[in-house]
Symmetry: C2
Subunit: 383 residues, 2 copies
């Protein structure tokens, strides 16, 4: 095995797949060089999306994608002590940052295009998130589409203009999603999927010979919808990277796909989901049924027991589970994974209702919330 | 639907399956009566086992099976303020009670026949439990087989004699397992299984017409070993009871079986397991492989992250998972259930290593401990 040589401060600017070489800017020396390759792995990641509206390059507008972004935000707060922060976007970066800003005692405004935060989730889940935000002093502004930023003479934002109104702000966090870094790959002839990310297969190959891809720059196969998706998450990138690396080194590894599992924390609330939501499942042509229940996270007499909401989404024709979402202050994030396994295995609601889970009062009730939800859901399946 | 009539203070003493009636002692009136039945459900539970050695009926020897037992123990401690308590048996009742006694500041001695507590679990798990007991001041006495109790003139225990030595004790908790209450059923001709509990099927029927059974008095089918077992646990009883009740009322429900999932807490330690241990799997003829790993319960920089131990047990010939055991101070009990689903679905180690779990730093690492264990285990499978 050959040694690994790490080249920091080198930026790849071009790929020549015919000659099998890459053009690289040596940033420290301001030189450009060509390096030959036998196998190439494109793992260029993604970058934060920015709203394309006037004033969007102001120096007190921030995005958050990597550690350096976090350091910039922290330094700005420490130096300038902004009072009013506007968070644009109700996805989980925006929500997590609402918590962080409130912990710094900043007045926090969350601007959303939809009527609820985490608008991709089911309403029953998003409503609990809204409640948690408001209980923690976040001002939630629904149906707000920013149209311009107003700047002072220093080029700093002083207010945000939306389709509805104008709001003062000392600082803005733009958390409106990410864009895969595919420009260099595309110019070299690497094919993109319909999501705009690099198209790949279960071996993490691209359409070009000896070029692999992994991580936030490429797509992943969703095993529930049987469709290629762009789901830029750390654990998926990690798994794809192992497969791309192994195969580039002559192995025969496969990454079969994802089911769409994720979790986040917002203040005291745990939110977790896996598989498809109702609308996505309908778009894919499933005859969708759903069941929402509320139950104790563990036996009610145990300290710390909390009510949690479980929503199951299933195919009414055959009872197959299509997705699950949960929210609550305890025992949510790690509970969802049983349903992730069920999705991988294409299990039915009936099969889920019969699962033998570990029961002990400090951790669960004799009938786990998932089993209660499945038992209720089973009554809705067309037999 | 007819009303339900609840008869408290009535003890069933005989079943006449030919005449379809039961003999009942009315305890409040000291009367015996016969009641006819159309369908009968035998749910007589289990009782604590007692060691059959001299002095075992002393008034300061306790067992713990139901709420009344707990009240007796609590009252005795409040009244007599015993200093030294001997716990006989290292199963999870014994372990949980060690914690309870230490919380009352009692000097606690745990007597075990084997070299480690929770001797049915894997050594890697039991060693962590022993360590936790000792860190919390429990005196662990290994390889101790009690042979007699020494009593004072009031009929109270003063010491325990074992095969090795003699130990003072003001109070004894006997936690050496349970015996199914099958005497009345057996006399009526209800067939017992090889475990000594009532034999049943997936409809919770007994061998006798119109007689069903559920709970700690009967067996359950283990889907991993494909063998009937006696696993007296509350969640299994709950599920069996629903099926027996539905079928006695004319339904067609089934309880397909268990995989052997359970969890308990001992001081700060969470312990959870599912499926077969190494020795049990070998007894059932599997070519057993295993993998132990230690990993963080969540991303290491998050507050509260703890090291947890995961052991996977699998069939080396085909990679099928046979069991899993975990121990640690955080994130154990609710993690085991993903592997319970894997056992229900007869998944392989390879399939487990590819699962898409929800990842977020407050709850897990990008590579969940289960995925790390499965990836390591996969290297040991004969291909």
């Amino acid at each position: 095995m050959q040694d690994i040589e790490v080249k920091t401060e080198h930026r790849v600017t071009k790929i020549d797949p015919k000659e099998k070489k890459i053009q690289v800017d040596n940033l420290s020396k301001s030189e450009t060089q060509w390096f030959p390759y036998d196998q190439l792995v494109i793992a260029t990641g993604a970058r934060s999306r920015r709203l394309n509206i006037p004033g969007n390059d102001s120096k007190n507008i921030f995005t958050l994608k990597d550690l350096q972004d976090g350091i910039h935000i922290k330094n700005y707060i420490d130096e300038k002590r902004p009072n009013q922060v506007a968070v644009l976007g109700g996805g989980f970066i925006g929500l997590e940052m609402c918590e962080a800003f409130r912990l710094r005692n900043m007045e926090t405004f969350l601007f959303c295009r939809r009527d609820l935060p985490a608008g991709n989730l089911e309403r029953e889940i998003s409503e609990k998130i809204l409640n948690e935000l408001q209980e923690n002093g976040v001002h939630f502004l629904d149906h707000q589409e920013p149209v311009a930023f107003r700047l002072n003479s220093n080029g700093e934002i002083t207010s945000i203009e939306t389709s509805k109104d104008q709001f003062p702000a000392d600082m803005v966090l733009m958390a409106v999603g990410v864009i895969p870094n595919v420009e260099i790959a595309r110019k070299a002839g690497v094919e993109l999927g319909k999501t705009g990310a690099i198209r790949t297969d279960t071996a993490q190959k691209t359409n070009l010979v000896d070029i692999y891809t992994a991580g936030d720059c490429c797509e992943a196969f969703n095993l529930v919808s049987q469709d290629w998706v762009h789901t830029p998450l750390g654990d998926i990138a990690n798994k794809q990277g192992r497969v791309a690396g192994e195969n580039a080194a002559g192995g025969r590894a496969t990454f079969l796909g994802v089911v769409g599992s994720a979790a986040f924390k917002v203040f005291e609330l745990e939110v977790a989901f896996t598989g498809l939501g109702t609308q996505a499942a309908q778009r894919y042509g499933f005859e969708v049924g759903s069941q929402v229940i509320e139950a104790e996270s563990k036996v009610g007499y145990m300290p710390g027991a909390k009510r949690i909401v479980v929503k199951l989404i299933f195919d009414r024709k055959n009872g197959r589970v299509l997705g699950a979402q949960m929210v609550g202050k305890e025992g949510v994030a790690r509970r969802i994974n049983t349903l992730a396994v069920a999705l991988h295995q294409k299990m039915t609601i009936d099969e889920i209702a019969r699962l033998d889970f570990a029961y002990a009062p400090p951790f669960s009730a004799p009938m786990d919330p998932i089993l209660i939800a499945a038992e209720q859901a089973a009554k809705k399946i067309v037999k």
